[in-house]
Symmetry: C2
Subunit: 129 residues, 2 copies
DNA sequence: AATATAAGTCTCATTTAGAGACCAAAATCG
DNA sequence: CGATTTTGGTCTCTAAATGAGACTTATATT
């Protein structure tokens, strides 16, 4: 969308508002990361090891599991701990901040579950026309 | 991740739990759609036309704006109304359900804003090591 | 007369995600 | 004893999702 008038954007820039670093976007990107929320939800059941998480979330690829866990670790939502077993095992757990994220996340889930029938109805309506 | 033990998944399947149609995943996918939440947030300011939305969200492409709006319309969160002007204009607005989604969304945003400093700190820590 | 606007669609290029092979060392299985 | 499994990943190759931008058609503006 490059054919915009730029006025509002220019205004924001003038105000020193950094569009790319907008905190709202950053969280939404996080929630939007498709797997991170599911991982956090799974870790609510307690610390889990890499492969156990993979089994709990059967349709995630190892690649994305690794990447999502790194992102979560970097942002301080998840802690990674290596145990010196043979072979070495790695446990992932929620940090306090990670746990605090579950509260708003559960709000979303409650909303989702209560609205699902309406959403289904809307879809059926939309699809038939 | 095809090398899983399948036990938990099998269990779920035995329970008739349809993994792909899980409502939690469906909403999270929605929130995870990268643009839908931003669009809903923008429509909180009142109904807006296609190009106006494009200007308000400068880094979305027309292609994704169209697609996201269709998804939101299909799920009943957004209403699309065509006006017979010349050239015809189209207004998008929140439905009641769309508005109700803003509540849990705002919870997430509040969380995001309050946690941002901690997240930044965690990132700085992670990146330096 | 040329350009802009409305709301998209379409194509092509780039980015992101998924599938699965591969790693090394130790434990387990037959 | 040899084969397989398990640990937590990485790497490559393919497939899917996204972005950039040209194009449309009729009217209005400059």
């Amino acid at each position: 969308m490059r054919d915009m008038q730029l006025s509002r954007l220019e205004e924001w820039k003038a105000m020193g508002f950094d569009f790319q670093n907008c905190p709202v976007r950053q969280v939404l990107d996080h929630v939007a990361a498709k797997w991170t929320s599911l991982i956090l939800l799974e870790l609510e059941n307690g610390p889990q090891r890499f492969n156990a998480l993979g089994r709990a979330l059967p349709d995630i690829s190892k690649r994305m599991l690794t990447q999502s866990l790194r992102d979560l670790e970097r942002d301080g939502l998840v802690a990674r701990e290596v145990f010196d077993t043979k072979p070495p095992s790695v446990a992932y757990s929620l940090t306090d901040m990670g746990r605090s994220f579950l509260e708003p996340l559960h709000h979303m889930i409650v909303w989702a579950e209560s609205m699902m029938p309406q959403v289904e109805a809307a879809r059926a309506q939309f699809d038939k026309s």
